[in-house]
Amino acid sequence: MEADDHAVDDIVRRLQAGERSALAEVYDRHHEYLRRFATRLLADEHAAEDLVHDAFLALPKAVMRFEGRSTLRTFLVSIALNRCRHHVRAAARRRKASERWMRLSVPKEPPDPDARYRDSELAVRLARALDRLPLEQRIAFVLCAVEERSGAEAAAMVGSSEGTIRTRLLRARRKLQVLLEDDQGGEA
């Protein structure tokens, strides 16, 4: 939540006037939040970094449409969502490529059943499954299940209705469940 409405109005005005220092200030204030969202959405550091860069780069133009109905942070996430398609594909390609390399190396010892390793394995499997979802379902899942946002908030970010978000989330969960089971069955 923006603590000071006047400060937000001032920085929005300066962004709209094209002040580079305003963009740097907004970046410093919101980059960690946007990066965390982008990383959760894309499950790839490099793609996330690119998406963060693109979203902030688009902000000076996009902010002309900002009406203050959401926070600036939420507005940034909306911009990122509008621009994420290309980055989702890039992240998926990188993941496939790295998995091909990993399959080439056969582990000499059984993997350590450490919890952190198990988490890491689960995360990789879910990232793989997310790559196989339609983009809209992936976005709904990341916003609602990973980020734990409300349906209303997710709908506002994406620019659709709450009902649409719930439908996409439901379909995403069903498909992901099946993909995870298949993935596990394949490894057995």
């Binding site: 094209g18 965390r36 970094e49 995360a123 299940a145 992901l176």
Partner: protein
């Protein structure tokens, strides 16, 4: 907890552990902004200059058959065939309305050595030999231009400076409340360019380029301004000053911009082959 819920928690934890590279992305972002703005400004400045040139010089140029002012001017100096063939046939046009000109003072230190009328093009000055053109391939020789018809310049001192007007117009177009330094530079250059290629006379052109360079000695358009200034000096017969102005270009001082043109002019100056 379902497998999916466990996977979701694990996914969140793993992604949140990733650090990213905030500092590098910040630098990259700000560099991208600068690069994008420069590209926009370059395109915009080119459009403004082109609009001015078309408004001021092409009307006269079309009416007199001289379209490629810069190439023709250089060729006229060097007795060489024009490097740019007229692409539009001269046709009768109504006399253009007087255009607004900047009230540039004629520099006191620049005596007019030429005996020409102030606004005469180089090859129409009285007492000057007719241009001797080298043998040129068929179809590339120029016909002698007909007597120019020029708009009568308005009274100097009653018109607001064109450069400032342009700066305001540029600021308006880009949504700024007042002109930025960059707007002022673009306005000053476009004005000098229009004076120079609108053939307002060498003295007025020189004053216009001096005005631009006084305000923006190392501006974005410095090389072009200095070269055009050198051409004005040649037209005014100030050979030593012209030589000093052209030598850096011939030596490649401006990343090779106008190097060949400057070398040709200097050689013609040395050999007494300049057509004045």
């Amino acid at each position: 907890m379902s497998d999916l819920d466990r996977a979701t928690e694990a996914f969140r934890a793993v992604q949140d552990r990733r650090r990213g590279d905030a500092a590098h992305t910040r630098d990259r972002l700000l560099a991208s902004v600068v690069r994008d703005r420069r590209r926009q400004r370059g395109m915009f400045a080119a459009a403004v200059v082109l609009a001015l040139v078309l408004t001021n010089s092409t009307t006269w140029a079309l009416s007199t058959g001289r379209v490629s002012e810069a190439a023709d001017e250089l060729a006229a100096w060097l007795d060489a065939p024009s490097s740019a063939e007229p692409t539009v046939a001269p046709r009768a046009r109504p006399a253009p309305a007087p255009s607004r000109r900047a009230a540039f003072p004629t520099p006191a230190s620049a005596p007019e050595r030429s005996t020409a009328r102030p606004n005469a093009p180089p090859n129409e000055r009285p007492n000057a030999p007719p241009p001797e053109r080298a043998a040129a391939p068929a179809g590339s020789a120029r016909a002698a231009p007909p007597a120019p018809s020029r708009p009568t310049p308005p009274d100097q001192g009653t018109e607001p400076p064109l450069a400032d007007d342009l700066a305001v117009a540029l600021a308006d177009l880009e949504g700024r409340a007042s002109p930025s330094e960059d707007d002022r530079e673009r306005g000053a250059f476009a004005t000098a360019h229009a004076v120079h290629f609108g053939d307002d006379g060498a003295a007025r052109s020189l004053a216009a380029w001096d005005a631009y360079l006084a305000r923006f000695p190392h501006g974005r358009f410095e090389p072009e301004a200095r070269f055009n200034r050198a051409v004005c000096l040649l037209r005014l017969g100030r050979d030593d000053a012209a030589r000093r102005a052209l030598t850096p270009f011939a030596e490649g001082a401006y990343a090779g911009i106008r190097r060949r043109d400057a070398a040709r002019l200097l050689e013609a100056l040395s050999n007494g082959r300049l057509n004045r």
